[in-house]
Symmetry: C2
Subunit: 508 residues, 2 copies
């Protein structure tokens, strides 16, 4: 009997499974078409194109939503619920089921209300920031908190609402693990930055001071991409106001931006986006449009960008390799040593109030302030009107500096004007994961530093492809990290890395 | 009773009408999203992106097809069939009904078969052309003829199949009128080109001989677009292997291509595409996504590009205006006079075998050869195996030259490898219409030539916007031409134009 039932199930399963995959491929093709439109909008579209673009994107999004939540999708998932599937197929069904259930749980009216609230909040935030007037933005923030609590309630009325929102960005990582990691970060970094402030170390911070023409910076960004092995037959480098990566395993494009007085900024951004692109380009081509051909979530994606940006792009061996190219483009730095470049690229800005201008260390305290505030807002433990003061208190406590205005305080970031609560922590979680992955790669690869100094990135590419990229969304986040590193996902490797690196740099 | 019924109808009508419009807006948003992906594919996409792009485009096309042919669409059209609608609404329903019926008539399997046949025919055509081997392409052409006859039969078994295929590109123009126009063209142009061959006129054909660097040509194309009034806040100029225009009233982009030895080619292409773009940019914004906000069909579109390319861009007043700019970019032509430039831009290449390199006159005989051959193929009056000989005979008869190879004969164009029968004539029909529209504009506008020579294109823009662009697809083709020019659509104005212009140039 049991055997017969299994046999029957096995016969049924692939059919429903294939039908589900076909549907998923179709809605993902629509979703990835929307991605191309998004790239175009930020990189190529003339300003007048906005009204048509909004309607195109909204039509695509609604078609995709309809396919995802359709009865046929629900029926196929139902048919597969009690079926024995192999691990890969089970993972595919798990991923599709999660997306389906989440999309189906939220009433369309609420989604539209949130989208309208964002449309209204965005210009209000822009004005509030420009005029340093938090009260102008406060009602919109209040509205977003209410709507997002409703949204969380629709998805899971029994859960902590912040955990539900966090799962929009990190469906496969528990909020408890995330909090534990952020807490360990805070406890490590607050005293470390304090010690750096008191350090007498004299870093070569002015190595890249001066004017660096944009054309040459662009050429240098291309040099850097060639060096690390970006496949231009499957990608492009363009300019946009905020650097980003867009695409899939066939065509994944990066953007960067240039500031004449800050060549390190563009190099860092370019290598960061390269890490994102390399992840997408390493996903299995055969599985395009299905969960096995999709990247895991935001923290894993950010781990790939941060690994390249920080562990490679800010390392001494990389600067050994790259500095001669920089000198070719910019003879004004002809006298700089590798140590000078390394120090300039790793200086800690202990008096900086702005997240996007932060260094590798203080960055996480900027994130932790936002995380704690948005978590308490969503949980109802903090009132919107109290945000500015709490913000400033936390900056003083964690970073030893106090913003003088809300414009350079709690109004600096766009995220809350979109109602994106739960997004910020993924930035830090990605950096932490990067450290753990890089440590494992260093252990697995014979003389990785030497290879990098010689411009041989193949061993690192292969390790990342093998241990991260090729899996798509097969594993949940912790599983993926454990499979890759042999250890559960914690902040230990990151703490070890920063203590070693900054201990040496600042003689702590 | 009648009044009540009308009142009821009136109440019902707008509801079904609005519902139909909503659906149309949605499928047109999807269609125009596909347009952006098509532009990207030809202008920006890295080569590796093809597999994902094909799937994105095929998903969008199938979603659009499903919406267009859906039962809900049929029901709404049914509900509106006997309803009194005002002229605008009746036009909207007429246009949507035509598209719906055509799409619904053709079995999906046949559409797929045609698409597969094209995928196979394209590389076969490429190879046949490269190796001058018609037999290699013949079976694919045969297959396309069969499939397209089936396709025409599915749409209307009682009609001439070529007329049905022609209606894919010109749904609002009878094949009889088209044939009459093409016949008049042939009867005018064959003897005229003969006379030009015998003419002793000595045109300044070498005015633009030499090398013209691509960067400066690109700058000159931008100069030309600025001059004629392209709105760069709603458009872009890029490079692609075949120049084209893509977009809508909010964002309409043009491309061009550059050849170092032929600066006139890029100028002509750029102004041609500008004419297309100007049409789309002039469509009413409020009606985007509905027939009132869509351009009329290919001949009308081509009339706009040809009007700008030939009647403006190849005119003496335009060269009075533009030559100083050309000289700024290319000092090597400093000695050229306006008359030199005018003669160079209007020389007739009586020994040219290649359509895309043809001039304003011989071009139409290239088209007529193709039109007569494809018409006879589809009607079953010509066998595929006889195409090369018939082609060469017709070139000899109409143009006085005989191709020595099929590569520069019947294999030169891509269109038949896509199974596109009925497309070629729209090129000539557009030129003919351009002449009729331009003559009417000249009559309506006080000293149009003077205005152009002074760089004042506003009167022409206004006339075209008022008489062509703003109508979208409200009028059928003949109606549109009659409304704009006060006369039925014929080749008369074109014949008059070329007899005057080339009579003078070649002292005929």
């Amino acid at each position: 009997m049991a055997t017969e039932a299994t046999a029957d199930d096995a016969t049924d399963a692939p059919e429903a499974y294939e039908a589900l995959l076909d549907r998923a491929r179709r809605w993902n093709a629509i979703g990835s078409a929307a991605g191309v439109l998004g790239w175009d909008q930020q990189v190529m579209m003339p300003e007048g194109g906005t009204p048509a673009r909004s309607k195109q994107l909204s039509a695509l999004s609604s078609v995709k939503h309809d396919m995802l939540t359709a009865e046929e999708t629900a029926d196929l998932l139902e048919a597969l619920a009690d079926t024995d599937l192999n691990d890969e197929r089970a993972a595919v069904v798990r991923e599709i089921r999660r997306k389906h259930e989440r999309a189906a749980a939220v009433p369309v009216e609420l989604v539209e209300e949130i989208s309208e609230a964002s449309s209204e909040a965005l210009p209000a935030w822009e004005e509030a920031k420009a005029t340093d007037d938090f009260d102008h933005f406060a009602p919109h923030l209040e509205r977003h908190v209410e709507l997002k609590r409703e949204y969380a309630e629709a998805i899971d009325p029994d859960s902590d609402p912040y955990a539900v929102l966090f799962a929009d960005y990190e469906p496969c990582l528990s909020i408890d693990r995330a909090e534990a990691i952020l807490t360990e970060l805070r406890e490590t970094l607050v005293p470390m930055i304090d010690a750096i402030r008191d350090s007498d170390a004299d870093l070569a911070v002015d190595t890249f001071e001066g004017t660096f023409p944009v054309d040459e910076q662009e050429a240098l960004s291309r040099d850097a991409l060639e060096l690390v092995g970006y496949d231009f037959s499957r990608g492009r480098l363009d300019v946009s106001s905020h650097p980003f990566t867009s695409g899939n395993q066939f065509d994944c494009r990066v953007t960067t931006r240039f500031d004449e007085s800050d060549p390190l900024g563009a190099i860092g951004s370019t290598i960061h986006e390269f890490g994102h692109a390399q992840y997408n380009l390493g996903l299995p081509k055969d599985h395009w449009g299905t969960p096995l051909g999709e990247s895991r979530d935001l923290s894993v994606h950010e781990s790939q960008s941060r690994l390249w940006e920080n562990h490679v792009g800010r390392s001494k061996p990389f600067w050994e390799l790259f500095l001669p190219t920089v000198k070719d483009r910019f003879p004004q730095v002809a006298d700089a040593t590798v140590q000078d470049a390394y120090e300039a690229a790793n200086q800690v800005y202990e008096d900086n109030l702005i997240r996007v201008e932060a260094d590798e260390l203080t960055y996480h305290l900027h994130i932790i302030v936002r995380f704690e505030i948005e978590r308490d807002l969503v949980r109802g433990d903090l009132a919107v009107e109290d945000v500015p003061e709490v913000w400033n208190d936390k900056y003083e406590e964690y970073l030893g500096i106090r913003p003088e205005t809300d414009a350079e305080g709690c109004l600096q970031d766009i995220h809350w004007s979109h109602g994106n609560f739960g997004y910020f922590p993924t930035y830090s979680l990605g950096s932490v994961m990067a450290a753990q992955l890089y440590a494992a790669a260093e252990e697995a690869i014979d003389d990785l530093e030497g290879a990098i100094a010689e411009g041989d990135f193949d061993p690192l590419h292969e390790w990342l492809a093998e241990n991260v990229h090729r899996h798509g969304s097969r594993y949940e986040t912790n599983e993926l990290v454990e499979e890759a590193t042999g250890k559960p996902y914690t902040a230990d490797a990151f703490v070890e890395y920063v203590e070693r690196k900054y201990g040496e740099l600042y003689a702590l």
